[in-house]
Amino acid sequence: MAGSASVVTLAVRDLAVQFGGVAALGGVSFEVSPGTITSVIGPNGAGKTTAFNAITGYLRPARGEITWDGAPLTGLRPSAIARRGVVRTFQKTSVFPSLSVADNVTIGLHLRATAGFLDVVLGRRRIRDEERRLAADAEAIIAFVGLAHRRREIASALPYGEQRLVELAVALAAHPRLLLLDEPGAGMTSGEKDVVSELIRKIRGRGITVLLVEHDMRMVMGISDIVIVLNHGRVIAEGAPADIRTHPDVIRAYLGTTGDRA
């Protein structure tokens, strides 16, 4: 997996998204430094997933600019954004449900294959070689996320935690340079969460920048280099995990107020 820590950055400037007149994001700006694990946190409805959707082309922002590697992503379709190396996962488990784990990952390898219609229909040899290579790549990725023993099984029949791993494998197969993970730990047992945390570190180790949205603070605080806190569609804090945990605005946003109401 290419793309080591270079000058590549994701920059979000003044991003605003409206849903039927209601501002879901009211002008958010942040940057993601290469080679880091950056987390976006915030209470429910803070606009985290909305930001993800806008960055990856699933939502059209009302205003603002998103640049990746110096070039704007705004207005591109999700598949075009993926082609530029920005790949995401989804909050709700999102696999290709009735296909096997291996097929799931091989679909993820779409961009790494080149076969066109004629190549396929004419059954060219090049394609057979390519298919073999893809199968090997898929095996490697499945092994990387630790699902080698599950490769023939149907994705939707796997336990939840393993489905999330399939999802991660699919995203990795798409050759990301920036990987956006939307609540990778949601609904997992703490043991499973540890596995995912470890995986995320390994992914960063391969030179992939990670941006994640997560609710589990133990997980966030454990793996993040930088934490960005959103509330009511705005950034309220940004910094290292230790600073965030004691930040008064963050505590108020999360737990409400203890005694006297502000």
Binding site: T56, G57, Y58, R77, P78, S79, A80, A82, R83, V87, R88, T89, F90, S94, V95, F96, P97, S98, L99, D103, T106, I107, G108, H110, L111, A113, A115, F117, V120, V121, G123, I127, E131, L134, E167, V170, A171, A173, A174
Partner: protein
């Protein structure tokens, strides 16, 4: 086991005219073959991309008319007219694919129905081109060098080649990056987009190939019955195709062929089994029962049964 069955099946298909002496049965098998191509074609859209086209009779009809008109009016050889028919229907498929790009589910269905409706009315009313409801009689039988493929056994091999070709195209697509993109579109469109699958591109491609294959079936049909009339656009043709695909098992390669064989033979079997008053009634009831008890289709049910037995 499976390989043995496949080998036997292939041998059976290749030698069929030699031991199936009765041309009526051969006729049924030829019709099953033509519908097999149609079912494979529809399956590409319905089974793999998950989009139901209820306008497939339009592609079938366009193919039949194109091939018939090219041979009748321009006196092209069958061997040129048939690819011509495939090309034109593929173009029509491209058009529909582009039009319905953003539409999914029921809306896609309705656009395809409407498209078929318009085309069908054009075939009835554009007298100068299609000879309207009078139809086009005298479509020539294909000739191969000095031989005419008019005989049933000869035409059987032509249709068999058509089925084999269609099956090959489908099988190769399905086993490739393109087929996986179709599946991704059916299974989870947002996820497919997120890993770089340009779903609209692949939807259009699926529509083009599917339409092209339906056009091939249309051409084969026209030169077999040697008469084309606007009835080729009848909605019942589309319904028959859907029945074949869904009952056989959508999203499997063998399902459409099994469905085509079964549902071409069934009406003929009913012709023998019961008097004409009861035939269609029985057909409807059998269809309801089949779907009710095997909602996923015959081939997947068999596969599940085998898997159960194996474990």
């Amino acid at each position: 086991m499976i390989r043995l069955a496949r080998g036997l099946g292939a041998l059976l298909a290749l030698t069929l005219p030699f031991w199936l002496a009765n041309p009526y049965f051969l006729h049924v098998v030829i019709m099953a073959g033509i519908f097999g191509v149609l079912a494979l074609s529809l399956n590409l859209l319905l089974g793999y991309t998950g989009q139901l086209s209820l306008g497939h009779a339009a592609f079938f009809g366009i193919g039949a008319y194109t091939s018939a008109l090219l041979t009748l009016r321009l006196e092209w050889s069958f061997w040129l007219a048939l690819p011509g028919a495939v090309a034109l229907t593929a173009l029509a498929g491209w058009l529909i694919g582009r039009l319905a790009l953003k539409l999914r589910g029921a809306y896609f269905v309705l656009v395809t129905i409407s498209f078929a409706g318009v085309i069908s009315l054009v075939s009835v009313n554009w007298m100068e081109l299609t000879n309207g409801p009078l139809g086009l009689p005298g479509v020539p039988a294909p000739e191969l060098g000095p031989w005419s493929l008019r005989a049933k056994s000869a035409y059987y091999y032509l249709v068999l080649a058509g089925v084999a070709l269609s099956y090959l195209v489908c099988a190769r697509l399905v086993g490739s990056r393109i087929g996986r993109a179709f599946l991704a579109l059916r299974e989870n469109e947002p996820l497919a987009e997120s890993v770089g699958v340009d779903v609209t591109h692949y939807l259009v491609l699926a529509a083009v190939v599917s339409a092209g294959l339906a056009g091939l079936a249309g051409g084969l049909y026209a030169h077999y019955t040697r008469f084309v009339s606007p009835e080729v656009f009848l909605f019942t043709y589309t319904v028959t195709m859907v029945v074949m695909v869904v009952a056989g098992g959508k999203g499997t390669l063998a399902g459409p062929l099994v469905g085509a064989l079964l549902f071409t033979a069934l009406p003929e079997a009913l012709r023998l089994a019961t008097s004409w008053q009861w035939q269609m009634l029985a057909y409807g009831v059998l269809l309801v029962l089949l779907v009710f008890f095997l909602p996923r289709g015959i081939v997947p049910a068999l596969a599940a049964w085998r898997a159960r037995r194996a474990s």
